[in-house]
């Protein structure tokens, strides 16, 4: 038996489909280079882990954890991110494409605008590389919360459903926005896929990660 190897999932839209919110050049580098590197390094780490487990080599298995967390997290985060974005101007980018989630957001944050404001403030407060997520907590009555994670830490805690995420690594916006990350977090809302967000919100935790299984 060999460990599973992961491969780069296809984007469900063209590299230029998110323009002008995110440029085609960013999307191409981000998907074909950055995401690919996380997958390559994840596969390498898993292969080494597999051997170490076979050899009952516990120190090596522990030593590999940061690489698995980082590169596995990078693969999970980007796979979820591509799917929770949609072409500029498509019906999925309308807040009304998420009726039940929309209700929950209004109940929790007052209205769409104040939710976005809070989400953007969280994104801009990240010190260094990281992500911002809207998370549903299955084990706490399905409450919503805005969560920021550092580097490539994924949202994988028990009962945590990542509804949608925004990449705040500089490589996600720098070629287009330079140091103006406030404009990036303003514009990202033009391409949030509310239909995907609604599906993840309504479904169980494992459904959110189904895209990963498909790319094995």
């Amino acid at each position: 038996m060999e460990p599973a190897t992961y491969s780069l999932p296809k984007l469900p839209y063209a590299y230029n489909a998110l323009e002008p919110a995110i440029s085609a050049q960013i999307m191409e580098l981000h998907h074909s280079k950055h995401h690919q590197t996380y997958i390559t390094n994840l596969n390498n780490a898993l292969k080494t882990l597999f051997t170490a487990a076979k050899d009952n080599d516990v120190p090596t298995q522990i030593q590999l954890q940061p690489a698995i967390r980082f590169n596995g997290g990078g693969h999970i985060n980007h796979s979820l991110f591509w799917l929770n974005l949609a072409p500029h101007g498509s019906p999925e980018t309308s807040f009304s494409a998420a009726p039940k989630l929309g209700e929950a957001i209004k109940k929790t944050y007052g209205d769409e605008e104040s939710f976005k404001k809070k989400f953007n403030a969280a994104l801009l407060g990240i010190q260094g590389s990281g992500w911002g997520w809207l998370v549903k907590f299955e084990n706490e009555g399905g409450r919503l919360g805005i969560v920021t994670t550092k580097d490539q830490d994924p949202v994988v805690g028990a009962g945590e459903v990542p509804v949608f995420g925004v990449d705040m690594w500089e490589h996600a916006y720098y070629l287009q926005y330079l140091n103006g990350k406030a404009a990036y977090v303003e514009n990202i809302w033009q391409v949030i896929n509310w239909a995907t967000a609604e599906q993840r919100f309504n479904g169980p935790r494992e459904d959110a990660f189904s895209a990963l299984k498909a790319s094995m």
């Binding site: 580098l29 280079k33 950055h34 590197t37 940061p66 980082f70 010190q127 260094g128 590389s129 990281g130 550092k150 580097d151 490539q152 690594w169 500089e170 490589h171 720098y174 070629l175 330079l178 140091n179």
Partner: protein
């Protein structure tokens, strides 16, 4: 270091007079001088002077935008901290500490970084001499072997951060350490030489090929500045 980071206007003019042979100065526009406030330091070279290792556009954004933001945000946090101190508001003080750490670290790190870079022809890339050179040979075998280890450390940073050649203040020995985000080299270790591994430090020129940036940056490392920090 505190004199570099917290300059009064008097100290600044003295410093500028001392380096008046550098005719083309950059930066500074719009920085208000207030006693005790952190200010954006001048670069001791032109934005384009580190090309082709680091492009002029990167240097300009990095110094004039990114570093300036750390300076301004640090001063804002400092002001709030002083207010909280006056009110003896301990929770507010604690809440402000991450901002002081991040923006103060960003200011410290970049100030040291600009100093430990230099254009080729003005010392950039010229190998270290004296005690530092000896310490590198003792610890790493050779300068090239040291650079290789340093670049491996840079490449291994998961997220934003810095790699530093540091000196242990207790033992005097040198080592390579990486720091997350804008965490500064303070406490037990003394910063000798730092390289910025944030994506904004190289992305416009190198994109995802960061190994090329780590390789090229040694052409503009100012070992003279590093030697002055080494004790």
């Amino acid at each position: 270091m505190s004199t570099t980071l917290l300059r009064t206007s008097t100290a600044r003019s003295a410093l500028r007079a001392a380096s008046s042979q550098n005719s083309k100065r950059v930066g500074l526009a719009g920085v208000a001088f207030a006693r005790g406030k952190a200010t954006l330091p001048d670069l001791p070279y032109d934005y384009g002077a580190l090309e082709p290792a680091i492009s002029g556009k990167i240097m300009e954004l990095h110094h004039d935008k990114h570093h300036r933001t750390y300076v301004n945000s640090y001063n804002q946090a400092e002001e709030k901290l002083a207010e909280a101190e006056q009110k003896e508001d301990i929770p507010s003080k604690i809440a402000l500490l991450p901002l002081i750490n991040f923006h103060g670290g960003g200011h410290t790190n970049h100030t040291l970084f600009w100093e430990n870079l230099a254009p080729k022809g003005s010392g950039g890339g010229e190998p270290p001499t004296g005690g530092l050179s000896k310490a590198i040979d003792t610890s790493y075998g050779s300068l090239d072997a040291f650079k290789e280890k340093f670049n491996t450390a840079l490449a291994g940073i998961q997220g934003s951060g810095w790699a530093w050649l540091v000196q242990d203040t207790q033992t005097g020995s040198i080592s390579i350490k990486t720091y997350a985000n804008q965490d500064a080299v303070v406490g037990q270790f003394r910063p000798i030489l730092g390289i910025d591994a944030w994506e904004h430090a190289y992305y416009l020129q190198y994109q995802n090929r960061k190994a090329e940036y780590f390789k090229a940056v040694w052409d503009v490392v100012n070992w003279k500045a590093a030697e002055k920090r080494f004790k």
